[in-house]
Symmetry: C2
Subunit: 477 residues, 2 copies
């Protein structure tokens, strides 16, 4: 804690790496591109999992588990899929002391092995919809790894569903996109834009890919979750048919959707500041840290007794708290540490506070500090945490709005993107060529065609060709 | 459901494979030795995870995540460890389209990568104890795979802890053994024997391995969990030292402990019968199934209305229930299916029951059926489920006791083991030679030196050499 964090404005990327490591979220592993998720970081993921898993079950999904190892030939059955994933796979060629007859790839995603299985699970319309989710690790060989954002191995969930009609599959795609958006906004306090990916950005094997896009603290976009309408691509590749109520044999319709440990990175970059992490109360492993202040044994005993009682009251109020009674560190050092770790609320308790029956309460997300009556304090904390959660979301939303620009001139777009970053609502002619040109010119991509963007006829800022509505351009992770 | 299950007495192993697959727990994957865990089987594992994770946290452990891929050189750092695991590992030689400079093995267990990490996490006595758990998949190339019992890939948890003294490490080893025993007995309703493994059966790299052993329905033993005292073996191999309070640099002391999806196999084999699974209420995904009985639409409507109300009452009583209102199957067919799936309680509701305000309640574990007043039925279910849980445990305990024999003659041991199976409490001289001889003679192993076995001087049944107390011999999975 001795050395200060790099400031965000100085080097955001370096700030990110420092925060992730100093706040004990994760560290680099002695395995290329892999990370070790430390207990503090893992507990964030655990809480995310619990919320998401509950939402998946509420929407009728059940969990299952499919093999990590996939026969190499499976990957080749869907043409776009293999093209997209083949360059990233890791291959097992030897096992049990022998060379394998057919190599296995480590799953980069599980469509192939799951659709091979669905062929046996689906016979009639009564077997549909089939709504499966899997919590698993996946491996994609990363050339430019970054902790949480792009790692060779990451943890995720992947939903895989089968439906009788394209309408039902589409509904499911949107239902799960909504689940992701609600999770991001309500639990992570991160506002997101729901939208459709352009063809060049869609999942390898999908008909359409929907996504949620969030703005990070450096005004770049982070794709935070995707939901794919797979059409009949995988059903045809793996010959999965069902007998309809009318007795006709039909290929089934598919979706898949996933979010990963990348969300931990989103949390860091969306809310963090120059002091470190800023965690939303609903996900924070520790919501309230109590720091006793004292000199000498007598004061120590008096203060710790009150801290103990406060701890009991916080536990009774279902607040996740920690009393930092370590003797070897001074209060100021502890303040810094818990700020670095993003704990939403800090309560300081010293002899002068005790004398007047008060405590000092500091909020992490806006730096506000005030004296509070000790009496009933624990009972007021849940409401304070709710207000903090909301405050954090509002702050992130205001930030995104401040840095979202409606621009019609390509020159203005290029200039502002370079100088101030942010999201740009612009007209686009719908062509891959224009998309590619922008990418080459300024490294910005079309993040999505927002679902709630209103019709507004206009002209493409690059080509001048007609456009029906605006799309979002931004630099992205 | 058309074909009857193979009877246990006819071919237990075939019965097991049929039950696991027909009850929708798991199926073979198109990947050698791997399985697909189906939703019904996975929900058992999920419930096990939830209970165990809670117990780990109550005992002060936190979760973290370490890489699947381990540099091959790590495995070689602990001599016994590599000897034990090298023959079973799968090796990644290519990734991202290139041959790797150093191959990676897929973790067969994570001591090496974790102790390589602990070197950086541990500096002083203040960093100890370090109490880490990981939920993960592991890969061990299996020559004779069996669903859940031995699969190339399996899911498990592995605890890895570091301590300042050998006494603390030993305490931890026993604490987690106790957690496993309590989980097996309280949640799985399976009585277990806690004991010490002989040197020939201990974990590769451990000083001592403790285990819990359970008796299956064919009277064979299944090792259901292990807890290892690793001494300083891994600390020395990975150079993990700490500075004591007295300022001395010392190697730390280690433990590791794990249970896996093998426990699902234990559940099947410990309680199952000729009709299929028998699940303990505390783990059953569905605790109560309600089967409506009717002919024609009028009866159907009347019966389903009562079923609906019963469902609401069961939900209010926190009972996990399912109303099987499928039209395409007859009640008898449904009874068989839910018996196969091991649902603890079945409630049958037909017009004649309704007329007298009653329902028929059938218990899976002992086949008892009786008429029950509908009024207040849902409210009485939790107590009935508790009684069922206890009844199942008592039944398993009585079965184990009936098939545990105290024998002093090697001829009697051999003869009875072959003819009736079971556990044998016998004297053993403590030598690996005797152990090996018994294994070669009758394929039985020393399951453990039970911790609660009393001192009883005697003579080894094989060599006649002195023995201090009895050990457990049995055939095992």
């Amino acid at each position: 804690m001795a050395e200060k964090l790099t400031r965000q404005s100085e080097d955001f990327s370096r700030w990110y790496n420092e925060v992730v490591q100093r706040a004990d979220l994760a560290e680099h592993a002695p395995v290329r591109g892999s990370m070790i998720i430390k207990p503090y970081g893992y507990s964030l993921w655990e809480r995310m999992q619990a919320f998401l898993d509950g939402m998946f079950k509420e929407t009728g999904h059940v969990n299952a588990y499919f093999p990590l190892l996939i026969p190499e030939s499976f990957l080749r059955k869907e043409a776009e899929h293999v093209e997209g994933f083949a360059p990233e796979v890791a291959v097992v060629t030897h096992a049990g002391g022998k060379q394998l007859e057919e190599p296995y790839v480590l799953r980069p995603t599980s469509e192939t092995i799951i659709w091979d299985t669905f062929r046996n699970w689906i016979q009639s319309y009564r077997d549909l919809p089939l709504l499966i989710n899997q919590w698993a690790n996946v491996i994609r060989w990363e050339m430019r790894p970054r902790l949480f954002l792009r790692t060779t191995e990451f943890l995720w969930q992947e939903g895989h569903t089968a439906h009788a009609t394209p309408e039902e599959a589409h509904e499911e795609t949107i239902r799960m996109l909504d689940v992701y958006a609600r999770f991001a906004e309500e639990e992570m306090a991160i506002p997101v834009i729901k939208g459709l990916k352009t063809d060049s950005e869609k999942f390898a094997g999908a008909v359409r890919t929907f996504c949620i896009e969030a703005m990070m603290g450096d005004r770049k976009a982070l794709q935070s979750g995707t939901s794919h309408d797979l059409g009949q691509n995988f059903a045809k590749a793996f010959d999965v048919k069902y007998l309809s109520a009318e007795g006709k044999e039909e290929y089934v319709w598919a979706t898949s959707w996933g979010v990963s440990t990348r969300l931990v990175g989103a949390l860091v970059m969306a809310h963090g500041d120059d002091q470190g992490l800023v965690l939303p109360p609903r996900l924070a492993p520790i919501q309230v840290v109590v720091v006793p202040i004292y000199r000498g044994d007598e004061e120590r005993a008096a203060v710790l007794e009150v801290c103990d009682q406060l701890g009991k009251d916080l536990a009774a109020a279902s607040v996740r708290f920690h009393v930092d009674d370590r003797d070897q560190f001074r209060p100021g050092w502890k303040f810094n540490e818990w700020e670095l770790k993003g704990v939403p609320v800090r309560i300081e308790l010293g002899p002068r506070d005790l004398a007047v029956g008060e405590a000092r309460v500091a909020l992490r997300h806006n730096g506000e500090k005030q004296q509070e009556k000790l009496e009933g304090l624990a009972g007021r904390l849940p409401a304070l945490l709710d207000a903090t959660q909301k405050g954090l979301f509002d702050k992130a939303l205001a930030f995104r709005e401040e840095h979202t620009h409606t621009v019609d001139s390509y020159d203005e777009f290029k200039e502002r993107l370079e100088s101030e970053g942010g999201f740009y609502r612009c007209h686009w002619d719908g062509s891959a060529e224009t998309e590619e040109k922008v990418k080459n010119d300024v490294k910005a991509t079309i993040r999505c065609l927002p679902l709630d963007e209103e019709d507004e006829p206009g002209k493409c800022m690059v080509s001048g060709e007609p456009s029906e509505r605006r799309v979002i351009f931004a630099k992205a992770y």
